[in-house]
């Protein structure tokens, strides 16, 4: 059986949701993210806004400068999570395995579904139609025999794109691309490639392997070598095993901006918890993965004594883990967040006092549960305020009244 992967990417997701909820915004440049005047970044923007040169992860002030007539909206993560879940549910109905990458992106393993849906083209059309009809959202789909190529393919003709790379054509497909389309190779890598005289995919294929290693390091060179040939180097998100659940964000360009990283953490914390609770599962272990521009990858985990029940908690821990992994200045290529030891809630479990009332996580859980049962679909989900702002790093009993530097004693 030939492997067949669909990479599904929601077009301008947050902005599209805002347009769905307020059709009056149609045709206007919509920018979702931090409040203009603040220090945050753009989460996403509509294609109209992109025409002004606005892009995600751009400082909001810069976005405002480029597009002062834009409609600036706050992030409504709950609502996006709700729609994202609907999309993921549709994917799960169609394919045997769904690997969500982030709130607006997933891989769908369609291997062996030929008899069900016909050709990959027919299957992709069906998928696009169902998502459009059932959620109102547009997607771009990339189809290929491996995940890397499908991911690159989905990004080629956005919005509403469909690119199919036939089996055996992966290398040819990659070589027909400009170097800039090489997913996973960020701005810095691109610059270094240019500086090394590698200006096209063909140059990259022809490049001397040891020389690449010297410039990009072992892991980087291996990635480039495989990717340029349309071979999946397998460095993206782990396959969703039964014990883990993760999501990750690859930045369009490597970033060293704490605000943008924080925004990514917020997004992932919400999406991840919503998925966990949406499937009626629990976890006590949070894992953060960080990949720097040189492809060096590290991860840290923390295990709580009790299960994660609220996204504030997940975000706070994610921030602590990030603070331990990241020096605050090295450019980051990718940040991932995941739960490990994912399981069904234990039997005979101890009840939580602050469950439904105080800790809004339980509320989230209850609502997700109801939504999963289709009981409150269509109703607006509650929208807790943005979860940022609380710096939990200086935790445990208070500060030090005497000498701030004596803490380590």
């Amino acid at each position: 059986m030939n492997p067949l992967w669909f990479h599904v990417d929601l077009d301008a997701f947050f902005a599209t949701v805002e347009l769905l909820d307020d059709p009056g915004l149609l045709g206007k440049p919509v920018i979702v993210g931090a409040r203009p005047g603040g220090r945050g970044v753009v989460s996403t923007c509509s294609y109209e806004a992109r025409a002004f040169g606005v892009h995600s992860a751009m400082p909001i002030g810069e976005a405002y400068r480029r597009c002062p007539g834009g409609v600036f909206l706050p992030v409504r993560m709950e609502r996006y999570c709700e729609l994202s879940r609907q999309v993921m549910d549709i994917l799960r109905e169609l394919g045997p395995e769904v690997i969500p990458v982030s709130i607006d992106e997933a891989w769908l393993d369609m291997s062996g579904t030929g008899l069900l849906y016909g050709s990959p083209l027919e299957a992709a059309k069906l998928l696009k139609r169902r998502i459009r009809e059932e959620t109102g959202l547009g997607i771009s789909v990339g189809v290929a025999t491996n995940r890397l190529v499908s991911k690159i393919a989905s990004g080629l003709r956005k919005p509403d794109g469909l690119v199919i790379v036939e089996s055996g054509q992966e290398a040819a497909f990659m070589q027909g691309l400009p170097l800039a389309k090489l997913w996973g190779a960020g701005e810095k890598t691109q610059t270094r490639l240019r500086e090394s005289g590698i200006l096209s995919m063909a140059d990259l294929v022809a490049a001397d392997q040891p020389a690449l290693s010297r410039i990009f390091g072992e892991a980087g060179a291996r990635f480039l070598h495989s990717a340029a040939r349309g071979i999946d180097p397998g460095i993206h998100g782990e396959r969703s095993g039964s014990r883990g659940m993760s999501t990750e964000t690859t930045f369009e360009r490597d970033i060293a901006d704490g605000e943008a990283l924080d925004a990514a953490l917020l997004e992932m914390a919400c999406a991840l918890l919503s998925r966990l609770h949406g499937e009626g599962l629990v976890s006590r272990t949070l894992v953060l993965k960080l990949r720097l521009s040189d492809f060096s990858t590290s991860s840290r985990r923390i295990t709580h004594r009790s299960e994660f029940i609220d996204s504030t908690e997940v975000l706070a821990e994610a921030r602590c883990l990030l603070a331990r992994l990241w020096n605050g200045s090295s450019p980051v290529r990718l940040v991932g967040l995941g739960f490990d030891g994912v399981a069904e809630p234990a039997k005979g479990g101890q009840g939580e006092l602050f469950a439904k009332d105080d800790r809004k996580g339980r509320l989230e859980q209850v609502i997700f549960g109801l939504e999963a049962e289709g009981l409150v679909k269509g109703q607006a989900a509650p929208r807790p305020a943005r979860l940022i702002g609380r710096n939990l790093r200086g935790r445990s009993p208070g500060g030090n009244p005497f000498h701030p530097d004596d803490r380590a004693q």
């Binding site: 005979g348 006092l353 200086g394 935790r395 009993p397």
Partner: protein, 374 residues
Amino acid sequence: MRFTGASMKFSCEKATIAREILIAQEIVASKNALSIMSNVLLTAVNGTLVIKATDIKVGFETHIPVDISTEGMCTVFCDKLAGVLSSLPEGEIEFEQDEQKVIIKPSFKKVRFQIKTISSEKFPELPDISTDSFFSLPSKDFKNMIQQTVFAVSDDETRYFMNGVFMEKNEAALIMVATDGRRLAYARKDLGLPIPEFKGVIIPPKLLSIIAKRAPDEGSIEIAVTEKNIFVRFGNYRLSTVLIEGQFPNYHKVIPDAQKNSVLIKRSDLMEALKRVSIFVEQKSRRTFFKLTPGVLELSSEESELGAAREELPCQYDGPEVIIALNYKYVEDPLRAMSSESVLLEFTEATKAITVRTGSQEDYFHVVMPMQLE
């Protein structure tokens, strides 16, 4: 510093200083001889020895009368000082500073100890507050409030905001609440006197345990609260601690308004039965079954390969037959903190929080969340 050049020398009764150094020893906690925080600061001035200790969060100060030959100050490694003092019999002891050491000589024995000192200038300044910020309450009441709550504090550091006892005022009443998220202990004392305004604070248990252990049953205790610290005074003692930052959960919402059913039972009967049945209770979850039928409470463990336990107790109950699963420690802890003859267990249904209170005293109660039966 005004003592520069002078070598402190004083003498006092062993019992007087030993008692204080043992308290200081609880505070410093650190056994690292190189750290100034493992040392006590001794200041002999005006016929008084001032002893200070800190772990950087909790601060401790006490005054005892001594015979001073030369005024001065130095710090001494507390662990060894405590060891020396507890090894000596009663009688007068002489302390003399000799450059980087303190010589300790009892007047009644041919023994001589010398303990390394660290310059007193390195000793951290303890936070202080003006006298008029304090309010006072009977020491016995405050101790009781601590004993009724402090055991329920969470030791899960990931829930740091539950790692202390929450204290707030409500008009003339002082309220203390502790919870680990699964059980909650509540204590309230109407002081009948105005209490200065302060915002609710989370107090680390270390300070509270010292007060519960050391404050006298007679007399009063004085408290002052600032944004970052709490200050406590009683007798010759001045204690303070840095407060835990963070938001204490909204405990009002988890205190049941009214419960449908109640069980009145002899406290000692229940405690002893729990002790017996718990032998067979699985020790990780500590899940114990409380089965109620009119007039009878039956405690039982789950049956395991090792065996099982079951005990019937007489009680006053005339509600429906019901089984509630509880972590036995969450019942045992409050029972131990109480002193009444009988206790009242109140509940509405097996899955909702139960209340444990004394038959009469309304100022203290405990809320426990049940476990799942399945």
